[in-house]
Amino acid sequence: MRRLELGHINITDIQFGSESKIENGVLYVDEEAVKAIVLEDERIKDCKLDIAKPGESVRITPVKDVIEPRVKVEGRGGIFPGVISKVDTVGEGKTYALKGMAVVTAGKIVGFQEGIIDMTGPGADYTPFSKLNNLVVVCEPVEGIKQHDYEPAVRFAGFRVAVYLGELARELTPDKVEVFETYGIMEGAEKLPGLPRVAYVQMLQSQGLLHDTYVYGVDAKKTLSTIMTPTEIMDGAIVSGNCVSACDKNPTYVHLNNGVVHDLFEEHGKTINFVCQIITNENVYLADKQRSSDWTAKLCRLLDLDGIVLSQEGFGNPDTDLIMNCKKIEAEGVKTVIITDEYAGRDGKSQSLADADVAADAVITGGNANQVIVLPKLDKVIGTLDYVNTIAGGNEHSLREDGTIEVEIQAITGATNETGFGYLSAR
């Protein structure tokens, strides 16, 4: 049996202070110390820190990643293995997470595929991150650097800051402890006889060209479909390296708190045997798509699964991976529910996916990403509005003279998340 205790350290407020510490649920941040951590990377010229709280008239854009700070208190390895910590298998022992807050990295990278987080107003309803106290790290690149060199600099800076803040909780007593237990294949079958064997198949964005995800530090597009203990993600085994449409990319926060994993654990031992997590990629070449989906289906069969939940990341090209996976896994007799989102046009009248199959008879949707929303002018912008017109979901008329913004919800970070992280849907 593998067991992970996840301790919640509730953060109710963030303030800048002379010393970084957590006291009575308040995170005090030593601005200079955090800046020094960000500027360790010579590719980052400068950075500014800011704090955005729920309900404030604040807009954060362009958002790259959202990260929940965590610390490994007991057990093998450390947070973000193969990325920040040394490579070691994680997912056992004791981990503390700073709940109710996140580190948000912002600033221009690609420009058109970074998102918007509004802390109030109608836009706030569409992003899960408006409910958090956010420490925003706005980075600025050194001159002349190429985007693919700069993206990892900001990616790593966010992780370093998150790990630094997570460390502040090491000696604290958690406000709440969740326990996650998983079994070996034989052990589970013996302990939970008669319960349907279920896995979570997660498709990781790996189209390349800044559409990437990393597993223990390995670029997911260079991986074969494989098996993980579902608790590994809780220690940061999977991280985002994406500059994909903001609405349906999985920020690192979503990987750490994957909803499917948590909700399958809720049923584990009661109505199902949650056997494992299977990860697979979304490469652009047909041969890769065929190989990866063959492997997921094969693993589902090998593990004698009865059912799976299959989640997607991104849209269009990955729709073909989604349907291939679904078709092949269903063909193995494994009942499948897929989670996706839709691009049904601004009028909602177009076909929502780029591929379809009768095997996909159980679909959860995160909603139509083309829906247009008008975001009000907010008092403060953290980052810059320079890219609102070119962001995916925006157009040349998005930023209007009165300061309001008309965009598709595609531009809002997490709006139509395809791991089922949010509440949005469509019919």
Partner: protein, 348 residues
């Protein structure tokens, strides 16, 4: 107070059954008939039925234009805030009449309309994408349930309030996807759906897959050197000038063109009618879309038996699958009658 005009057939107006289906349209101002009473109760003091229009099902369908124009003139004069037709349950002609008149009231008078019927009523497939159609039971036993869903939807339409997703405002999915916030997050809904699927219990997918009508290819032609090959395309290749005016998008018909003696399609003789792709290369040389030149060579060399002297063409751009199917069903019979052995089907 919101003004409602209600349309029902002779049966629900208690005039009679099939034997009275021939009666022309009647207008009963200030009267509430049949299910109108239930609507009246459901509206409380928010709305009133100012007139009930009754028409025999046979009359409506057999004198369509006359019935439509009479009723439209009445509704125009009455100028209600919303028009309600039915519910029609599983009565086929009644369902079609409800859909037809509700659609006409919306389109021609700009007055919002709602109807209700059983999902398998032919009127549902015909009109659910045009008129908000509440799914009902298949008999009048479901009247109370039908009215309880149609009435609030009618009030919302009358008040010009935003209409929610089909599952929220109880209408049949109408091809327009509408976003809304669920009570449970997506991952929890996925787990719940999986539990039902595992237990072989019914569940409702949130996005029904569009029907992809996949057709298995026929076995290979045994001896191609003796076969008559025809060309069919959705790439829109037509004789110069598009003589049959095939639409550039959402085509309503196909063309049949004789290519007896034609060995090459040139810029002067053929072009594409298709509006969905850059036509420059197809117009320069339509053989790029339908390879008449190469097939003539193969015919001469004896690789194929014969190129059929007619080709069939339409525009695939935005054309409804139902139209494409109807075109193909018709010209396939012609191809068979002409002794064609195989078809090369090109798209763009």
């Amino acid at each position: 107070m919101i003004k409602v005009v209600h349309y029902i057939n002779q049966f629900f107006a208690q005039i009679g059954g099939e034997e009275m289906a021939h009666i022309p349209a009647e207008r009963h101002d200030g009267e509430v008939k049949g299910p109108g009473a239930a609507f009246k109760a459901a509206f409380k003091d928010e709305a009133e039925i100012i007139s009930t229009i009754v028409c025999g099902d046979s009359y409506f369908n057999e004198h369509l234009e006359e019935a439509k124009s009479t009723i439209l003139a009445w509704v125009k004069e009455l100028n209600p805030d919303v028009f309600i037709a039915g519910p029609a349950f599983n009565a086929g002609r009644y369902g079609v009449a409800c859909g037809t008149i509700a659609d006409a009231v919306q389109e021609e008078l700009g007055i919002p309309a709602v109807t209700g019927m059983y999902v398998e009523n032919p009127g549902a497939d015909m009109f659910k994408n045009k008129v908000y159609t509440v799914p009902t039971k298949n008999s009048a036993a479901g009247a109370r349930d039908a009215v309880s869903k149609m009435a609030p939807l009618a009030l919302k339409l009358a008040k010009k309030e935003a209409i929610g997703a089909s599952c929220q405002d109880n209408y049949m999915p109408n091809g327009t996807r509408v976003n809304f916030f669920e009570e449970k997050r997506g991952s929890r809904r996925a787990v719940d759906m999986l539990l039902k699927k595992l237990a072989d219990k019914p569940f409702v997918t949130e996005y029904p897959m569009p029907d992809f009508d996949r057709v298995a290819p026929n076995p290979a032609v045994k001896d191609i050197s003796k076969a008559t090959i025809a060309i069919v395309t959705s790439g829109g290749i037509v004789p110069k000038g598009n003589p049959d005016h095939i639409e550039s998008s959402n085509a309503s018909h196909y063309g049949e063109y004789d290519i007896t003696g034609v060995t090459d399609l040139t810029e002067a003789t053929y072009e594409t009618a298709h509006g969905g792709y850059d036509p420059v290369y197809a117009n320069e040389d339509s053989d790029r879309v339908i390879p008449v030149d190469v097939l003539r060579d193969m015919e001469k060399e004896g690789i194929i038996g014969k190129l059929h002297n007619k080709f069939y063409t339409t525009v695939g751009n935005g054309t409804a699958v139902a139209s494409s199917k109807a075109f193909a069903e018709e010209f396939s019979q012609k191809l068979l009658a002409d002794g064609v052995d195989a078809v090369i089907l090109t798209s763009t």
